[in-house]
Amino acid sequence: MRVEPFELPENLKEKLTKAKKMEWITILYLVTVVILMYLVMGSSQAMKTAWLEDALSMVPAISFLIASRIYNKKPTQKFQYGFHRVFSIAFLTGSIALFGMGLFLLVDSAITLIKAEHPTIGTIVLFGHQIWMGWIMIAALVYSSLPAMYLGYKKLPLAKKLHNKILFTDANAQKADYMTGFAAMAGILGIGMGWWWADASAALFISFSVLKDGYTNLKDAVEDLMDRKPLHIKDDEPDELVDKVENFIKSWDWVEDAKVRFREEGQVYFGDVQLIVKPGTNVSKAIEEGLEKLYEFHWKIYDVTLMPVEQIKDYSEKDS
């Protein structure tokens, strides 16, 4: 049981500060994107979809910044396990927003396509030249996708190091943002070609990708809160750290056999260990020392209960 405020190891603290800075930049940038896109979107369904997607992509950044102010608070009388889960909650919120918006956009775009609405795009006079608004929209889309991709690539390694899911999702979505941008551009160029259906089809494509992201994240967030076994965030493979801890405990000279069980609480792992203690051990002292060793083993192993038992119980019959 730990009562002090949570602290990341020194090298990761630096990474977290950097991640926070990147997220502030992301928010400021997205605000300009959302304003610009709103001004030029006209009656194009693809632009509307891309615009809503951009507006929505602020949610992960904002939740990350809020959560990163709370997660390391000292446990209180009311919250005796600390505040680590705030990241999981923020992640769930973001994924619900994404999923819901994906559904809405899908229906909205499908209706536009079925009703065969022809998008009307006018012109604008810039510096005395008359320009078709479609070109302006494409310029806005370029602005909305290229810097986003760059930010995504920058944030991805930070997210992996910090084992922070919300940051990872945010970075991954931004990295793939060019897909949205290009789809919308194709829609606009299609309108220019006289294909009225291109716009709504592009919108439909974008909605699908939003919905797919939303679904994946929602599933992940729920499984997280259901105390699933810890996974790597980048490929969803089981974290080998859990097995390493088990082997580490088994290697102690006073331990006959052991079985560990861990769950993710935001960035860190909580768990318990069943131990069969060798006869003649001073159990309470050995456990106190064992806990110290575990906390030094890896920063992610944060809160552990060591429990001496007569016989180890298996948690699961099946693998699933």
């Binding site: 998008p119 006018g122 012109t123 290009f182 551009m185 160029l189 299609g190």
Partner: protein, 140 residues
């Protein structure tokens, strides 16, 4: 990254292929007006100063584009219905930017500060030329 490049190249091809006379009309309103005539719906109203002014404007536009004109006078609802079916190219009747027909029609930008012409939805080439005329017509 390769996928990204390929997609970009495809887009460029589409762009160069279609760059001449961009944007196009899905229903070819502009080309058809050139070939036969510009079909203009005029809303029948008691106050007709605005309408006759608009009529003159459209006539100027047609002259500049070497188009014949064909005027049809009827009530608003009928004209909008025809416009929706692409049986008319322009409807005029002193309409304003915030008109209730907004979702059924395409609009030009205002030729003064508030008044607009209606065009069929999505006929972007016709709209382009009409707005070009409005822009040239506006005195700075």
């Amino acid at each position: 990254m390769l996928k990204f490049l390929r997609f970009g190249i495809l887009l460029l091809c589409v762009f160069f292929f279609g760059a001449c006379n961009f944007p196009k009309d899905p229903k070819n309103s502009y080309e058809n007006a050139k070939k036969s005539s510009l079909r203009v719906g005029v809303v029948s109203k008691t106050d007709s100063t605005q309408t006759s002014f608009e009529k003159k404007l459209i006539q100027n536009f047609a002259e500049r584009e070497n188009m014949q004109t064909q005027f049809i006078t009827d009530n608003e609802t009928e004209l909008i219905k025809k416009l929706e079916k692409y049986q008319l190219d322009v409807v005029l009747g002193g309409f304003k930017k915030k008109s209730n027909w907004k979702s059924k029609v395409g609009m030009t930008k205002p030729y003064d500060s508030t008044h607009v012409f209606f065009v069929p939805r999505g006929e972007n080439r016709l709209l382009f030329h009409l707005e070009n005329f409005i822009h040239k017509h506006q005195k700075p």
